[in-house]
C-alpha cells in the first residue's frame, strides 16, 4: 500500500469536475497529506471538457506527477481525452452506463455514478458527490474529511440549504458503501492515516495576493485578463479592508500609469496582467525605469504569442521581461517556482522595487496561478519591509537618506533647498535618495527624458553616459546584495540542470529519480532572473560538465540569457504545447545526455 496517489478526474465543465477535485484536494490536505493539483480549462465559457488532477502524498510533492495513478471518468469524452495519461497498471473508474473500456493495460472499476445520483440520491446534481464518495471508498481520504470540506463550502455559499447538504451527505455515503461492497479492490493505492500538519491549501494567485497584502501594497490598478484576473478581483475586495485603494483601469497602459502615479506618491503599488496586457505596458515600464520609480508588475504568463491560448501555460515571457522596451532599460525580474514562492517573492519584489527604485517584474505562469498546493503555515510570516532611500530620512537599511545629495543643510530658502536637492544623485550604489510628496518634502520632477542629477532635462553626452551607468549600477549593487540560490542534488554532479519558474518541482523530482538510478546530477533554480545571481551561476556551471536548461518555451529563453551572459551553450530541452513538464520528461532528457 502506498501513501501516495495521483488522481485525475475528467468530465464536463459545470458538472462539478473541478469543484469535486478541489474538495478532494482540500480534504486530503486537511487530513494531513501534501497535495499538488493541476487542471485544464475548457475553451468554452460554460461547459466543455476539462480535467482536474491531484497528487496526494505523505511526503512533500513537487510536481503533478508523470501519469495519473487513478483516472475517474465522468463521461466517454473524458475517457478518450485522458486515458493516454493513465499509468500502465493504473486504475480506471468509470460509469458502465457511459462506455465500456477496452484495454487491459489497467485495472477497471465500474461505478454507476449517474444511476446512483439519479435513482438512489434522487438528485442528479450530486453526481460529483457520488464520485467523491467512490474515491473515498476506494483510495481515501475518509468520508468525514470530505464531508467537513463540503459542509464548510456550502455554509459559505448563498445556496446553503439543509436539504442540499443532506443530499450531499447521502450521495457521499451511498457511493462509499457501493464501492466498499461491490468493488473488488485490486490496486495498491490506499491513503492511510498520517500525522496532522499545520498547512494551508491555496493556489499561486491566492498566495500572490497574500504576499502583496503582507508586503504592504496600498494600491492596485489592473485590467481583467486570464489568468491574472483573480489577483485583481481579490485585491478589489481586500485592499479597502486594509486602507488601500483599488482601480479597475480602462486598459493596461492606464493601469501601470496609475500604479506609477501611486508609487510617486510613496504608496507601494502593483498591477497584475498576462501577455497581451504586459505587451501594452512596455512603454510605461521604460518610464518607471528611467524615472526610477518602484512598481511591481505581475505577469501571469500564458501560452503565446498574441492572444495565443489564454488558459494554457508557457514560460515564454522571460526574454520580453528582460529586454522589453526600447533603449537600455534596467528592470528586475523574479519568478516563483511554487505556491510558497508566490508569497515570499512578492515580499521580496516589493522590497526590491523600493530599495532599487525600479520596476520589478514578477513572472508567474498559468499553471502556477491555478496550482493548489499544501504549504506549511510557517511560510506565511510577516515580511521585513525595506522602504525607499528617502532624502533627509534615516532609512530602514540604516543608510542615511542624505547620502549623495548635494544638500549640506545650510540653505536658507525653500527655493535654494529645492534647487540643491539632487534627486538623481550619482552614488556609488546607483541608488539616489528620493522624496515623497508631503509636508516638508523637497519637491522634484520625475521625468522620462534624460536628465541631470536634479532631474532637469539634459542631453549632454557625458550626462547621458553617466546616468545610464548610474541606472545600471543599481543592478550590480543588487546582484551583490540579493540572495544566491543553492544547488540541489549531488554535490559532485557532472550534469547540471538550470531552471526557472514553475518547473522547479519537476526538475528536482527528475534529479532525485536520476540520482536514484546512479547518475551524478544536480540542479540550480533561479528565482531572480535580473540581476542574475552571478556567483551561484558561475560556481555551478564551473562545477559540472554538462548543462541542461529545460524550459516550457520554444526559443530557450533562459538558455539564451546564459549564452549572452556566460557564453554558455547548454543543452536545451524545450516543451511548448501549453502544458508543464513532467518529471519523467526531464529525466529522459538527463538520460539522453548520459
Amino acid at each position: 500500500m502506498e501513501n501516495e496517489v495521483t488522481i485525475r478526474i475528467g468530465g464536463e465543465s459545470g458538472e462539478g469536475t473541478i469543484s469535486g477535485g478541489d474538495i478532494l484536494a482540500l480534504a486530503s490536505a486537511r487530513w494531513g497529506y501534501h497535495v499538488f493539483t493541476f487542471r485544464t480549462f475548457p475553451a468554452e465559457i460554460l461547459g466543455g471538457p476539462c480535467m482536474f488532477q491531484v497528487r496526494i502524498s505523505d511526503r512533500p510533492v513537487k510536481s503533478m506527477g508523470d501519469y495519473a495513478d487513478v483516472l475517474v471518468c465522468l463521461n466517454k469524452e473524458a475517457y478518450d481525452r485522458n486515458i493516454r495519461d493513465l499509468r500502465r497498471g493504473g486504475v480506471l473508474v468509470y460509469d458502465p452506463g457511459d462506455f465500456t473500456p477496452e484495454s487491459d493495460d489497467f485495472i477497471t472499476y465500474a461505478v454507476p455514478f449517474n444511476e446512483l445520483a439519479r435513482k438512489e440520491v434522487q438528485l442528479f446534481q450530486t453526481k460529483n458527490m457520488v464520485m467523491l464518495g467512490a474515491i473515498a471508498g476506494l483510495f481515501g481520504p475518509p468520508l468525514e474529511a470530505l464531508l467537513q470540506v463540503v459542509e464548510s463550502r456550502l455554509s459559505k455559499s448563498r445556496k446553503a440549504n439543509p436539504i442540499l447538504m443532506e443530499k450531499n451527505r447521502l450521495a457521499l455515503d451511498i457511493a462509499y458503501r457501493y464501492v466498499r461492497e461491490k468493488i473488488d479492490k485490486r490496486d495498491p493505492y490506499q491513503l492511510g492515516p498520517v500525522e496532522k500538519a499545520d498547512r494551508v491549501v491555496l493556489n499561486g494567485n491566492q498566495a500572490v495576493v497574500a504576499g502583496a497584502l503582507a508586503a504592504g501594497c496600498g494600491f492596485f490598478a489592473g485590467y481583467p485578463i486570464t489568468p491574472a484576473s483573480d489577483i485583481m478581483e481579490a485585491m478589489a475586495k481586500e485592499l479597502p479592508q486594509v486602507g488601500g485603494t483599488f482601480l479597475q483601469a480602462e486598459d493596461e497602459m492606464a493601469a501601470l500609469a496609475a500604479v506609477l502615479g501611486a508609487s510617486f506618491g510613496g504608496v507601494r503599488a502593483m498591477t497584475a496582467t498576462s501577455g497581451p496586457g504586459f505587451s501594452l505596458m512596455t512603454e510605461l515600464i521604460g518610464l518607471a525605469s528611467m524615472a526610477e520609480l518602484p512598481a511591481v508588475i505581475v505577469d501571469a504568463q500564458r501560452a503565446g504569442p498574441s492572444t495565443g491560448m489564454p488558459t494554457k501555460m508557457e514560460q515564454a515571457d522571460l526574454s520580453f521581461a528582460l529586454y522589453g522596451g526600447h533603449g537600455d532599460t534596467p528592470r528586475m525580474i523574479v519568478a516563483p517556482a511554487n505556491v510558497a514562492d508566490c508569497y515570499t517573492l512578492m515580499g521580496l519584489a516589493f522590497n526590491m522595487a523600493d530599495r532599487y527604485q525600479m520596476p520589478v517584474i514578477f513572472l508567474t505562469d498559468q499553471s502556477l496561478t491555478a496550482r493548489v498546493e499544501s504549504v506549511d503555515r510557517s511560510v506565511f510570516r510577516p515580511f521585513t519591509i525595506e522602504g525607499r532611500l528617502e532624502y533627509g530620512k534615516a532609512n530602514s537599511n540604516g543608510a542615511n537618506g542624505a547620502n549623495g545629495a548635494s544638500n549640506n543643510g545650510k540653505h536658507e530658502t525653500a527655493a535654494a533647498l529645492a534647487a540643491s536637492f539632487a534627486r538623481y544623485a550619482y552614488t556609488a550604489s546607483g541608488i539616489s535618495p528620493m522624496t515623497i510628496p508631503g509636508p516638508g518634502a523637497i519637491p522634484y520632477s520625475a521625468t522620462g527624458l534624460e536628465h541631470n542629477e536634479h532631474g532637469h532635462p539634459d542631453y549632454e553626452p557625458e550626462d547621458h553616459t553617466a546616468m545610464m551607468q548610474k541606472r545600471f549600477r543599481k543592478l550590480e549593487t543588487a546582484a551583490q546584495e540579493l540572495p544566491q540560490p543553492e544547488p540541489y542534488g549531488d554535490r559532485e554532479a557532472e550534469i547540471g540542470l538550470i531552471g526557472w519558474g514553475s518547473t522547479e518541482g519537476a526538475i528536482q523530482e527528475a534529479v532525485d529519480r536520476a540520482r536514484a538510478k546512479g547518475y551524478k546530477v544536480a540542479s540550480l533554480h533561479l528565482r531572480i532572473l535580473s540581476p542574475l545571481p552571478d556567483r551561484a551561476i558561475r560556481d555551478f556551471i564551473s562545477s559540472v560538465k554538462t548543462i541542461i536548461v529545460p524550459e516550457c518555451n520554444y526559443s530557450g529563453q533562459l538558455a539564451n540569457l546564459l549564452g549572452a551572459r556566460y557564453g554558455l551553450q547548454p543543452i536545451r530541452v524545450n516543451k511548448f504545447g501549453g502544458i508543464p513538464f513532467t518529471a519523467g520528461e526531464i529525466l529522459r532528457a538527463i538520460e539522453e545526455v548520459c
Partner: protein
C-alpha cells in the same frame, strides 16, 4: 524630515529654476503664468502639490514649477494623476498637457476620467497642432488645415473638446485663453477648488507652427454673465458655437469623487498575515 518648505505665497515662489525652452511668444507662457498665479492665490503647498504631464511642448510644464512634478509619457498624464490621487487623496493633483496628449493618444483616458470623477484638475493647452514634433495636425486642427502631415488639407473633422467633455458629463468644464492670463488664473483656481474631475480647455497658440493668436483674439468671448453653469444643455450650445470661442465656466456639478467613496465602502483594519492566511487552513 527636512525643514518645511511652506508657506510660499507669491507667484515667484512657485517658479522653478529651470528656464522654459518654449519659443518666444508661445501661448504656454501665459498658461504657466496663470497657473503659478492660481497656485499663489490658493497658497498651494509646493510639497503637497503634484503637476503631472505627458509629452509635448506644453508637457514640459512641471519642470518650470516648484511643486512636485511628474513628466510622464505621451498621453498618460490622466491615468498617472488618477492613480496618484486615489492613493494620496491628501495631495492636490493637476494634470497638464497638449491637444495631442489629451485628445489623440490619450483621449480614451479622458472618457474614463469623466466616468470616475476623481478629484484632479486637467489643464489642456490646445494649440490645434503638434508643437514638439513640429507642426503636424492634431485632433483639434480644423478640417482642411494644411500641414506637413496633411499636405492636401486635413481630411478629418475637428474635435470639439469642450462639447465632448460636456457630453461625457465631466463635473467641471471651463475654457480659457492664454492671452488672458488673469481670467485664466481665475478659472484654474476654481477648477482646483472644484471637488471632482475638472477640465480646463485652454486656447494656447503655437506661433511657430500655427499662429492662431489673431483668430482667437477675434473669436474669444466671455460666456454671458447670466450663463447658469448647472445648465448642461445650454453649455453644450455655447460649446458648439462655430464662430465664437466662449471662455469661462461652462458647467459645474458636485458629485461624489471616487477617491473618497473608495475609502468609505468598508471600515479598514490592520492587516495581519496570520489572520488572513487562516482562510486557507
Amino acid at each position: 524630515m527636512v525643514q518645511s518648505t511652506t508657506p510660499t505665497l507669491t507667484l515667484k515662489d512657485y517658479k522653478s529654476e529651470v528656464k522654459p525652452t518654449w519659443c518666444p511668444g508661445c501661448g504656454d507662457f501665459g498658461v504657466l503664468n496663470a497657473t503659478l498665479r492660481s497656485m499663489a492665490a490658493l497658497k498651494l503647498p509646493v510639497d503637497q502639490t503634484v503637476v503631472v504631464s505627458g509629452i509635448g511642448c506644453s508637457s514640459r510644464f512641471p519642470h518650470f514649477i516648484r511643486t512636485f512634478g511628474f513628466h510622464s509619457v505621451h498621453g498618460r498624464a490622466l491615468p498617472v494623476a488618477q492613480g496618484l490621487k486615489m492613493a494620496r487623496p491628501d495631495l492636490t493633483v493637476i494634470a497638464v498637457g497638449g491637444d495631442g496628449d489629451f485628445f489623440s493618444i490619450g483621449v480614451g483616458h479622458l472618457v474614463h476620467a469623466a466616468l470616475r470623477n476623481i478629484d484632479i484638475t486637467a489643464i489642456v493647452m490646445d494649440n490645434e497642432t503638434y508643437g514638439l514634433t513640429k507642426g503636424q495636425t492634431s485632433p483639434t486642427s480644423p478640417h482642411g488645415h494644411k500641414t506637413k502631415s496633411s499636405p492636401y488639407g486635413l481630411l478629418a473633422s475637428q474635435f470639439n473638446p469642450v462639447a465632448t467633455a460636456l457630453s461625457l458629463n465631466v463635473s467641471f468644464v471651463a475654457r480659457g485663453y492664454s492671452a488672458r492670463p488673469k481670467e485664466l488664473a481665475a478659472l484654474i483656481e476654481q477648477a482646483t477648488l472644484h471637488r471632482g474631475f475638472s477640465f480646463v480647455h485652454v486656447l494656447s497658440p503655437c506661433p511657430t507652427f500655427y499662429n492662431t493668436f489673431d483668430a482667437w483674439d477675434a473669436a474669444v468671448t466671455p460666456l454671458p454673465e447670466d450663463h447658469d453653469p448647472s445648465n448642461r444643455l445650454k453649455a453644450l450650445e455655447y460649446a458648439l458655437d462655430n464662430e465664437k470661442q466662449y471662455i469661462g465656466v461652462f458647467y459645474r456639478e458636485e458629485r461624489p469623487t471616487m477617491e473618497r467613496v473608495a475609502r468609505e465602502v468598508v471600515e479598514p483594519h490592520e492587516f495581519r498575515i496570520e489572520e488572513y492566511i487562516q482562510r486557507y487552513a
